[in-house]
């Protein structure tokens, strides 16, 4: 077919060299349908062609790992014959174009990845990044924030999976490219995980769920290119999410998977039917033949090209055992769904697509999946680093500590996110034992004594200043958060949000970040069981901060020993685990008070982090601590304030050892620290087990009264009514959204 010209390739996001590989793989020129199929499978989004060489270096194994990267989601053993199945994914571009539906369909996609594995989804979280809510683009950003939050809520609430936590922050580089990363966790029987396999020639292939329309064609390609003013033209229709359909699919699929009529299941996400058929085939060394005339269609006159590339939401592909068809169909009918047999498994290793009996595409599955290009893209340390990494902290003008604290408490990144999580049903399914906003999210596992703690974290500013250390800090913070709740970190997932990988500086950021994640995970014995990469996060040539987001899952052996962030009562002692250093680089303090994004992010000694995590888990497990909160954004001052919030106004008196002035002492974001409280009589034991664990621990004060009183080296720096500080913290976020019907 000689009609393949440069313009056609360009529209498909393929370069001439890739086209030559396609011709070589086929031994002939591709048809247009085949070209479309290759283009989506070889897109960055589906093939990981720029990231793959780096991702390979991540640690993915461990005694609890039941499923590492390669399936729809990872899985770890949590005892009692059960597995926690989880993954995180991005839906950045669609959420910018249509915030509500973009975010909603992102939630729908990650939920499908979980129940595809045979797991009942029990928790959702999200990690969001936006530009500032004030200033030039403030109004637009607020609309995006409202839409994204409502979209996440709309889908999750409707389908009845609690959104139990997440994180959200606001930085300039996300103004034209917000990030919407969504995490889902489910529970499955450890010996009944369902794989995306197409085994057994002759077994029928079924399609279930929504009908196929023309929406989202080339969505995967869109997620693999930058934005510019012209992309408005290229915009494929964003899909409208249908949580009701997905709820039916979820229940029907789980009902099917309770039996043994199924062989393999795969959702149709990016690259739709193409990806589902070719990946299922490639994973099993088999082929799949389908005829598109059997694919339920919403619109008339759709071509095989369109049917194969459509990214219509809420669809699943199933391979079932021959002879069990009726049983399968009946289960779906019960849920008012129609299961349509679209083809069957073959043993020739080919993806064969027919249209009313005529072959329109015939491609070896391995060429589509394993044969995709793998790039070792050039890397270069960005020039901006030399400048931004330099910070002369001693030269900063002095600041009134309490005023500084109040301003940081009012920054939308630190302020109370009740406005957000109140819109999420975070209690449905009656498992949520740490409610949103009270620390790492914790859901109990019904039928066992256990619970799972989970946290998503990432700090774009740190990564901008030092991608490797920033990424390590993200791992450490997520693991520490989980440990503060009493959870032993047992598995992690990651979502890597970066700019255009064809730029050597971006590729360098990416490689550094992956290195950092690998190093930290190895040191903390934390296997990465899956994840997602989102590149080309740029608008008009400006990249976002490099933003790896880590999701860590921790196991709490005794759910009744779960710990939250808040002070519990008068007279408890306050102990600081870890040490504070003069580390103001990249901090919230520097950004909010001095308007600077500069310096080196805090140092991280992974052995210390590991010791702290073990100590927190141990102390919680023996019931020694009454509250625990990790020190991160805003430093120790903000941490102490947050321990006092949501208690009805219980205060504390604390004296801190000085580290180069009050600012650094109060606002440094040194890693590997946590504030814990214990009953007074338990203080000696607590200090002793800390010493045994090799974690520096110091009794810094007591819980009590109604004031937040913090001294540094004996001099009172902060002394305010808890309620005054809390008012700042709890009204700051809402104040951007005053507009309200009355």
């Amino acid at each position: 077919m000689s009609t393949v010209d440069a313009a056609l390739l360009d529209r498909h996001g393929l370069i001439p060299d890739e086209y030559q590989r396609i011709v070589a793989a086929l031994g002939r020129e591709p048809s247009l349908t085949e070209l479309g199929i290759f283009s989506v499978m070889w897109s960055e989004h589906c093939s990981y062609k720029s990231s793959r060489v780096h991702l390979r270096t991540l640690p993915t194994e461990g005694p609890r790992v039941l499923q590492g990267p390669g399936e729809n989601a990872g899985a770890v053993d949590i005892g009692d014959g059960l597995a926690a199945v989880f993954k995180i994914e991005s839906h950045n571009h669609p959420s910018f174009i249509e915030p509500y539906q973009g975010a909603a369909t992102g939630v729908g996609g990650i939920i499908r990845d979980i129940f595809t594995m045979g797991a009942r989804p029990i928790a959702l979280m999200n990690s969001l990044r936006f530009g500032p809510m004030n200033g030039t683009h403030g109004a637009r950003t607020r609309r995006i924030v409202e839409g994204v939050v409502a979209g996440i809520a709309g889908y999750g609430n409707s389908i009845g999976i609690p959104t139990v936590g997440g994180e959200i922050s606001f930085e300039e580089p996300y103004t034209g490219n917000p990030l919407v990363n969504v995490f889902c966790l489910g529970i499955a029987k450890a010996d009944a995980l369902v794989k995306a396999r197409a085994e057994g020639a002759g077994n029928p292939v079924y399609y279930v769920g929504a009908k196929t329309g023309r929406d989202g064609i080339h969505g995967a390609t869109m997620a693999s290119a930058e934005f510019d003013e012209k992309s408005a033209e290229k915009r494929p229709a964003v899909q409208v999410g249908d949580p009701f359909m997905e709820k039916l699919l979820l229940e029907a699929c789980l009902e099917l998977m309770k039996g043994d009529a199924h062989i393999g299941v795969q959702d149709m996400g990016a690259a739709g039917l193409t990806c589902a058929t070719s990946e299922m085939g490639a994973r099993s060394g088999s082929g799949i033949e389908i005829d598109v005339m059997h694919v339920p269609q919403r619109e008339s006159g759709m071509s095989p090209y369109e049917i194969m590339l459509s990214e219509s939401q809420e669809r699943m592909l199933l391979v079932v055992k021959k002879g069990r068809e009726r049983e399968v169909e009946e289960i779906f009918e019960k849920w008012d769904l129609h299961a349509a047999q679209v083809g069957f498994v073959t043993d020739d290793g080919l993806l064969r697509v027919k249209d009313h009996g005529t072959v329109v595409a015939e491609i070896p599955n391995t060429a589509l999946v394993d044969g995709a290009p793998v790039y070792h893209r050039p890397m270069a340390r960005p020039a901006y680093l030399a400048d931004v990494q330099h910070l002369d902290a001693a030269a900063l003008p002095p600041v009134h500590a309490q005023e500084g604290l109040f301003r940081i408490l009012s920054s939308p990144t630190v302020a109370n996110k009740r406005w957000v999580y109140r819109q999420y049903d975070h209690m449905v399914r009656t498992n949520t034992i740490v409610l949103a906003g009270m620390g790492a999210a914790v859901v109990r596992v019904k039928g066992t004594s256990r619970a799972l703690a989970m946290s998503v974290d990432g700090n774009g500013r740190y990564c901008y200043l030092d991608p490797r250390r920033g990424a390590m800090l993200a791992v450490a913070e997520a693991a520490r958060n989980v440990a503060c709740a009493g959870g032993h970190p047992i598995g992690a997932t990651n979502c890597l949000n970066f700019g255009n990988p064809e730029r050597p500086e971006i590729m360098w950021q990416f490689a550094e970040a992956v290195q950092g994640i690998g190093d930290a995970c190895r040191a903390l014995d934390l296997p990465i069981t899956g994840g997602n990469v989102s590149l080309y996060n740029e608008t008009d040539g400006t990249a976002i901060y490099p933003t790896p987001v880590l999701g860590v899952v921790g196991l709490i052996e005794d759910a009744s020993r779960t710990v939250t962030r808040v002070f519990r009562g008068e007279g408890d002692v306050i102990v600081l685990f870890g040490e504070t250093f003069d580390e103001l680089g990249g901090t919230e303090f520097l950004k909010i008070i001095h308007g600077l994004v500069k310096g080196q992010p805090p140092g991280l000694d992974l052995r210390k982090e590991r010791a702290l995590i073990a100590l927190l888990v141990r102390a919680a497990g023996i019931g020694l601590i009454r509250s625990a909160h990790d020190c991160s954004d805003g430093g120790i001052a903000v941490t102490l304030a947050e321990c006092a919030f949501d208690t009805g106004g219980i205060g504390c008196q604390v004296d801190l050892t000085e580290v180069r002035g009050a600012d650094a002492t109060l606002f440094s974001e040194s890693a590997s620290r946590a504030i814990v409280t214990a009953a007074a009589q338990d203080a000696p034991t607590l200090l002793q087990i800390a010493a045994e664990a090799g974690v520096p621990a110091r009794l810094i004060g007591r819980v009590g009264g109604s004031r937040l009183r913090i001294s540094v080296g004996g001099r009172v720096q902060i002394d305010c009514d808890v309620r005054d500080a809390e008012r700042q913290w709890s009204t700051a976020f809402n104040s951007y959204f005053r507009r309200q019907a009355s």
């Binding site: 539906q101 929504a210 009908k211 329309g213 023309r214 929406d215 915009r235 964003v238 409208v240």
Partner: protein
């Protein structure tokens, strides 16, 4: 002056609500309803000197606020 704005999903965009309504009508025994699509309807009260100016104002509001052109289209009737 009154402007009436109808916002509907573009024909190529799937309308889950409309489909669910149509299917329920069928299971309730209604025959002869082959399709349902759901949209939004707005009534704007405008102070505009002429119908043309009212239409212009309504279009501006519809395209900027009431509809998202990525997935929706709108139609305006004046009076």
């Amino acid at each position: 002056m009154r402007a009436r704005v109808f916002v509907t999903l573009k024909p190529s965009v799937f309308d889950p609500q409309g489909r669910t309504i149509a299917e329920s009508l069928h299971s309730m025994g209604y025959v002869g309803i082959s399709d349902v699509r759901q949209g939004k309807y707005f009534e704007l009260e405008l102070d505009a000197p002429s119908a043309d100016q009212a239409r212009e104002l309504a279009s501006d509001v519809a395209s900027r606020v009431l509809a998202n052109p990525v997935i929706e289209s709108y139609r305006i009737e004046i009076g």
